[in-house]
């Protein structure tokens, strides 16, 4: 006989909401302003409000040399122009959001900030979905890079990435100056996630403009740590810890570089990559991610159908 278990929670906290993107009416140029987060429970754990259905972001970049050949070979020449790529992603792959990496800044001695600004502007022109922009990863150029991105996207309510413990001031400053939100990434640890959020709060970034990236290892490559960290972050938030009550973003990008994909039979490499990315992303959704990011275009359709079928009509509630 099946046993019915009543889950009685004493949770009092709620996950905060973050808005990404601004429509024309709101002073931007996006087709929608997306709200992520919310909810006062866990997804797929009956009896509580799990929040909104998770969204899918597609990741692309402005310097394809630093991207997985599995993706660039599939996408073709379009990867050499960020605007063209953005347009193609929207039209063909149809994710919920775009996540644009300024990989051009990762070259040694990068200084071409005017080109950077034009690139961001072009991506904004050629796309309509709410946009996440990933800037530099070098403290020496962070300040100018994020200023550039922030300014070019003023009014668009971008989500800017990525703030880390050692370098969060530049991205926070750009977000505050131009009305954007910030991705706060910490290395798979609930306490470090909280510490970074406190630092951002003290720099002046309000809670409703922070999205937590707990860092996602690929499935089989430490994902269980990510899962546990995400779960603990969510638990802490539901128990009332406001410094952890933000929606989470998860990117399974390591999936394309793992041994199983690298060493797969060339004919099956793409399929293997999609599978790995898909399973990692679905696991992240179950752990509580509000936005999951993928790089392989063919991951999007099965991922969406997985989320839809898991979520059901009640938003995963019952």
């Amino acid at each position: 006989m099946p046993m019915k278990v009543d889950i009685i929670s004493e949770w009092t906290g709620e996950i905060g909401e973050v808005t990404i993107g601004a429509t024309k009416k709101e002073g931007g140029s996006r087709c929608a302003a997306i709200v992520i987060g919310g909810g006062s429970g866990f997804p797929f754990l009956g009896g509580s409000a799990p929040g909104r259905k998770p969204l899918i972001a597609f990741e692309f970049c402005d310097d394809p040399k630093l991207w997985s050949p599995i993706v660039t070979e599939l996408e073709g020449d379009v990867v050499n122009d960020a605007g063209d790529w953005a347009a193609r992603v929207e039209e063909l792959h149809r994710p919920d959001l775009l996540r644009f990496y300024l990989t051009s800044t990762r070259r040694r001695g990068f200084q071409d900030f005017s080109q950077l600004r034009r690139t961001v502007e072009e991506v904004l022109e050629r796309s309509t979905l709410p946009l996440i922009v990933e800037g530099s990863i070098d403290p020496a150029i962070d300040s100018e890079t994020f200023l550039c991105c922030g300014e070019a996207g003023e009014g668009e309510r971008l989500l800017l990435g990525t703030a880390e413990e050692g370098r969060y001031r530049s991205v926070a400053a750009a977000a505050m100056a131009y009305g954007h939100s910030v991705i706060a990434q910490s290395p798979i640890d609930v306490n470090l996630a909280k510490q970074l959020n406190i630092l951002l709060r003290e720099t002046g970034v309000p809670h409703d403009r922070i999205v937590i990236d707990p860092y996602t290892g690929a499935l089989g490559y430490g994902f269980e740590y990510s899962y546990s960290a995400m779960e603990r972050i969510r638990f802490a938030a539901l128990k009332g810890d406001e410094d952890l009550a933000m929606p989470m973003i998860s990117s399974a990008i390591d999936s394309l570089n793992i041994k199983e994909v690298r060493e797969a039979d060339p004919g099956q490499r793409g399929e293997m990559a999609v599978k790995w990315e898909l399973y990692t992303a679905v696991s992240s959704v179950i752990a509580g991610a509000s936005v999951v990011c993928v790089r392989h275009p063919e991951t999007i359709v099965p991922l969406r159908s997985a989320i839809d079928s898991l979520w059901g009509k009640t938003g995963g509630g019952d």
Partner: protein, 633 residues
């Protein structure tokens, strides 16, 4: 064999080929600063090569030197092998220096129940009518003077051999000395005439770094002499693990004799000051950490640092001082404090005894910060303890301008919140040479207050101020300008230093919280926080709370018990009944192995924030820092 000449003293010593300059220094009795035990990790044993050829990897160790120092031939003594005869200059900073050692035990209140007595006797000479043997005659005399029963006193053969001559040469006027031993009494000496006024005992704190001795009259308990000294074992490695490693490599007997020598030197200077003879010291009580007491007793400490970390003995030990090489009265008693575990040794039990925390139902937290840290939580009914490595940062290691509490160390700092100009005080009020632990804690708290660092200790380099700058490797804050210092360099604290300090403080706070969680104690339940050890005496209590070195409690609950080890040793010397209490403390205290405690790492990460990730645990600090932020904005 290559010969090494040490400048400025021109001491010359020959060494085996392949030996390092540090080996030579040890042979020449030049005590160099080797925090890491000679592994090339601390960069404190800098010497300058003046002539000759050496084998030294300047590329590998270059980070320890300034460009000017490299030009002058800087090497690390522990990593430099002379290839032929060499001359090296040893700068003052590379030598162990006179340190601020805590010697004042608070006025001790304990019953006076010593374990040694002298009996001045005038015995009737034997006759045909009274032919009882010399020894019986003597022991009866003791019994008649109020001493122990004749048949309870054991007499060693060496004493018996002396008896006939002493009795007869003194005209049957003698003084016998009896000491309490397990299971009875022991006659340890017979002297001519009345020497009953010359009865002294010594309390010894045998620390990893320093040794403190007290000489007390065992007739009235008064202190007659005090002295302190470095533990000479430092030349074999500064921290405790390097000592154990030294012992493992066949150095146990060398370490043992260095420990005895260090105690003897301190005893000699205390006795000279008091104008007494070392031969009038009849009992020695030693409190030390488990490894130090093992070494002093010549017991191999090696197994304590390997899994499963067991000491050879935990119970208290009694022996004769001479067997440990302590140069007091031949056959004088030696009492060694018991231990709880490898890391909770007699020094901590002495701290607990001295704090009085076992005598009250109030819950107290006792923290001993030294080369390692130990934490004890409990009251008269229960007690938890743990220990860990705090890293050397709080003692000045792994900090660019860190130093021990030697003359010239900045021991107190405050910042002007407007101008960011530091005001500091150095030990002996001379020009600063570096910063010691208490100064570093002040600095951390002040930099946080001034919003120069964030809660992870990162320096906000966007602050435009001449003292906030980026150094060769890390951002840094200038504490003292070159022209104000005694070392002709700017004294700075770098972001890396701050990171090391935060790791140190985090392990201490995490240990406190782990014990509190184990016992189900909240910070509000804590009635006293006792600091023991040299460190606790000099730190600013509020700043220790601001940086989250200890849980937040009202500052008036924080007390320094000073050198608890020497105090506990003094109590045990004066009041033998407390020796039973020691044994009880050792038996009831539970030891929590932090490495085996899964929540500890989590708590550690939470504690690597200033003051702590859970800000609700530090409400007063939060209020203070909030007002600092508002003022800055």
């Amino acid at each position: 064999m290559p010969a090494v000449t040490f400048l400025p003293g021109f001491r010359k010593i020959s060494v085996e080929p392949g030996s390092t300059i540090l080996d030579a220094a040890q042979k020449a009795q030049i005590h160099m600063n080797v925090v890491c035990g000679g592994e090339g990790k601390c960069g404190k044993c800098i010497v300058f090569l003046k002539s000759g050829r050496v084998d030294f990897d300047r590329k590998k160790f270059g980070r320890f030197f300034s460009p000017g120092e490299i030009d002058e031939g800087a090497c690390l003594a522990c990593q430099t092998v002379p290839l032929d005869d060499v001359q090296v200059f040893v700068p003052e900073n590379s030598l162990i220096q006179e340190q601020k050692i805590l010697i004042d035990a608070r006025g001790i209140e304990t019953e006076f129940n010593p374990a040694v007595w002298k009996y001045a006797l005038e015995l009737a000479p034997p006759s045909l009518e009274d032919p009882s043997p010399d020894l019986t005659r003597l022991l009866w005399g003791i019994e008649k003077s109020g001493g122990p029963r004749e048949n309870k006193i054991y007499v060693p053969l060496e004493v018996i051999r002396r008896i006939p001559a002493v009795l007869r040469e003194s005209g049957w006027k003698i003084t016998g000395t009896v000491t309490l031993v397990p299971g009875g009494y022991r006659l340890i000496d017979v002297e001519k005439g009345d020497t009953s006024g010359n009865l002294y005992g010594a309390a010894v704190d045998l620390g990893t770094t320093t040794i403190v001795v007290y000489i007390r009259s065992l007739i009235d308990g008064e202190v007659v002499g005090v002295a302190s000294n470095y533990n000479k074992q430092i030349s074999c490695g500064e921290d405790i693990l390097s000592r154990v490693n030294y012992a493992r490599k066949g150095g146990l007997s060398h370490l043992q004799s260095l420990a005895a020598e260090s105690i003897n030197d301190a005893l000699t200077s205390a006795a000279n000051n008091a104008g007494i003879d070392l031969d009038d010291i009849y009992e020695v009580v030693v409190a030390g950490n488990t490894i130090m007491t093992h070494i002093l007793m010549g017991i191999n400490p090696a197994y304590m640092i390997e899994e499963p970390y067991v000491p050879v003995v935990k119970r208290y030990l009694t022996s004769s001082a001479s067997r440990a090489g302590i140069a007091v009265k031949e056959d004088a008693g030696l009492f060694i404090f018991p231990a709880v575990s490898d890391y909770i040794g007699g020094d901590i039990i002495a701290d607990v005894l001295a704090s009085g925390m076992t005598e009250s139902e109030e819950v107290s937290l006792l923290i001993d910060i030294g080369t390692n840290f130990e934490v004890v939580l409990g009251n008269s009914d229960w007690m938890f303890s743990c220990s860990g490595a705090a890293g050397p940062a709080l003692e000045g290691g792994e900090v660019l301008f860190g130093m021990r509490a030697n003359p010239g160390a900045i021991e107190e700092v405050s910042l002007d919140m407007e101008t960011l100009v530091p005001e500091y005080r150095t030990i002996n009020q001379i020009k600063p040479k570096g910063i010691c632990g208490s100064g570093l804690i002040d600095l951390l708290a002040e930099l946080l207050r001034a919003c120069i660092i964030d809660r992870t200790g990162r320096i906000n380099t966007s602050i435009s101020h001449e003292r906030v700058r980026t150094g060769r490797y890390y951002p840094e804050f200038v504490v003292a300008w070159k022209h104000d210092t005694g070392i002709e360099k700017d004294i700075v604290v770098t972001e890396n230093d701050i990171k090391n300090l935060i790791m140190s403080k985090a392990s201490i706070l995490a240990a406190c919280i782990t014990l509190m969680n184990q016992a189900g104690i909240r910070r509000e339940d804590i009635s006293n926080i006792y600091f023991s050890g040299a460190f606790g005496n000099y730190i600013n209590k509020e700043n220790a709370i601001i940086i989250g070195l200890i849980p937040e409690v009202p500052p008036e609950k924080i007390k320094n018990i000073g050198n608890g080890a020497i105090e506990g040793a003094n109590i045990a010397l004066l009041n033998r009944k407390k020796r039973k209490v020691l044994d009880e403390i050792a038996r009831t205290m539970a030891y929590i192995e932090l490495n085996a405690e899964p929540s500890f790492m989590d708590e550690y990460t939470r504690s690597t924030f200033l003051p702590h990730t859970d800000l609700a645990q530090f409400p007063m600090v939060e209020e203070l820092l909030e007002s600092c932020r508002i003022r800055r904005d």
